[in-house]
Symmetry: none
Subunit: 208 residues, 4 copies
DNA sequence: TACTAAACGAGACGGTACGTCCCGTCTTCGG
DNA sequence: CCGAAGACGGGACGTACCGTCTCGTTTAGTA
């Protein structure tokens, strides 16, 4: 009945919380300096002042470690309230672009996604640690826009979710593609065009 | 007669053309079976019935080899003429999605893009071998739509190019993101929504 | 009354005697199954149902543990009284050979001796736990033979000790070398030859 | 018919002979400094200016490497001709004792013998590389002694071999046991006693 | 009966070496 | 000069144990 039942305190020496944070910080530092492919577990361990075994006790491989190390950066994204949906979106897209410019994300993100095509647990970890967590931005933005009357209310919840997902893929995908594949700057002008295209599409679709 | 002749037929044994195609095929086969990260140069050489030296004589490293092996697949994309822009786009997007579903592209594409963030020559090779070659689809589609009157004529060439680039990043980015990051199916329904969003946005923008 | 009492019964929980015997038994079992080099402290601890800490509280390292685990086996050697020195020696040599055939001694003995060449405390432990304890057999045998008149009395105690030591090294060394280095069977015929050689040499020497 | 049939010249780059000798020398140096148990493959490779893989390409493990490194030292043993069998034996036993005192053999020999109890290929390697090669000393000694008339001729070849083997085990075993187990000096006095014991035994046995 | 102090199990820790895999280069021979 | 074969120096991998440590939990004798 009381909560003491489940795994009160595990026997043995508890894991060091300091080690966790030191490792994640070291991983980000190594990503900045070396990039994904030159990052090694041994180097991360040395930077963190930790034994290699301590890394492997917590993460099965380099990919999962890097996902966790990078995931936290995405939580910094904030949807501002600048008065209009267009402005809010432009701001958060620029935040996202700035994040993708950081060397620790730029190289790591694509690499783990590439690996995830062959690694189901990794894909799941990416989804829960990064993707799903950032969908909140789309959800928030749409809800606020509807309250403001900038977007029409859509009743069918399945349609709502489908549109949210579409927006997420379009915005995130376009920014990533622009930044990493096309290797062109994600500047204010481009962001304005992207946002206009998308909002135009949304309202046009709603009027049908 | 002049000294240029030596470049016409160099002395010694000429390079085997068969080796080239065997290597690229072997690379694709290895990608299918092993994925990017487990693919090794030695394995490709063995599959191709070729010595490792022969690989390195033609490509500097694994990344460039894989780009060349995969690039040719993208040339299969064709913009059909189904009568309406909407239908044409939906068709080519589905072709692109099918291409991304193939294991040899799925795993390789993101990986080389990831590497390219730290490797300028590789980025250049990706751009010329893959990216720029596929922009033709956007160009073709827009021109044909304008001829049909489905899209308004835009006079300023800089704007034209900017919009073409935007469309390319949006469509390619969205599909890639949907397929590889969100790991959701790129099915007819989703493609219709994407196309509608985009065309809606384009016409809305043009009316301003 | 005086402060020496604290050494009689130390405060705190006393060490478990069961643990001691369980550990030594587990060590022998592990030697049988795995041999010296694959035996690990963690494995012994698990077999004994004991924590690794408990091992290290009692023995400084693997070598000392193994010496203690094996030493007790040597105490089983008994010099029988079969009526003649030749017969007595043959019997005890065969006992010794049988002991060396057991997998827990075969693999462990040479290994700890090898380690002892670089580890003075270990050498001392081997000497006191094994070597010196078995010299009793030579001493007993010689004394009994002299009482029986099978060997002449030697007066000089230094010579006596030197000869005892020589016999010990010759017999033990020959058996070990035959069994482990030459890897030939220590059978009745060989033991007879060895014993005859030695007794012949001893009487020949005494006649000089 | 011609000798070219068997493996004339294998394809590919041939193995470096310099690497072989450098590795064996480095192994002996490491044995001197570190002893058997602290010797590591990586360290040997570094000393030899060679990659670890080069070691593993030639030897399966540390044990086999050490056997080969040490074996050559035993070939230095020479049976001198000092006029009498007793003197010859004493001399070669002292050579053997001196060899066993060298740090590279002292620690390594027992260790590989210990390992060989669980490793049949290793035992075979020890036998062919070391043991059988040194039996020549016994053979030579006996033959010369018979020519000189110091030992009676024995006709039965099986008996001859059995006695040769016995002598080998007795002498080698006694010296090793004295030096490494008893850890007492193998000095002139002790060697004289050992030789006398053995020769006495041999002649006594022959007279029966 | 409670206190105290050591022993206990469990298991995380920093560290070292392992033996393997692959890299990209080189050295040989034969075509 | 090309190509196969394969050895080379190098570097990272992920694993296995080492011997130590830090927990919370017994288990005595003592107060």
């Amino acid at each position: 009945m009381c909560s003491r039942t489940r795994s009160r305190t595990r026997p043995g020496r508890p894991r060091s919380a300091e080690a966790d944070t030191a490792i994640l910080e070291a991983t980000r530092a190594a990503l900045v300096e070396l990039g994904w492919s030159r990052l090694t577990m041994g180097d991360v361990a040395t930077r963190a002042g930790v034994a290699k075994t301590t890394l492997y006790r917590r993460w099965n491989n380099k990919n999962e470690l890097v996902v966790d190390a990078v995931a936290v950066l995405f939580d910094e994204l904030r949807l501002p309230d600048l008065g209009s949906l267009q402005a809010d979106i432009e701001d958060v897209v620029l935040q996202f672009a700035a994040l993708l410019e950081r060397p620790e994300t730029k190289t790591a993100l694509m690499a783990v996604v590439a690996e995830s095509t062959r690694d189901e647990p990794l894909r799941e970890r990416i989804r829960t640690s990064i993707v799903d967590r950032q969908k909140r931005l789309v959800l928030e933005g749409r809800q606020r826009a509807q309250e403001r009357g900038e977007l029409p209310e859509e009743r069918d919840p399945a349609t709502v979710e489908a549109v949210d997902d579409l927006i997420f893929d379009v915005v995130a995908g376009a920014v990533v593609h622009r930044a990493l594949v096309s290797a062109e700057p994600v500047d204010q002008a481009w962001v304005q065009r992207l946002t206009a295209l998308m909002l135009g599409g949304l309202t046009a679709a709603a009027e049908l």
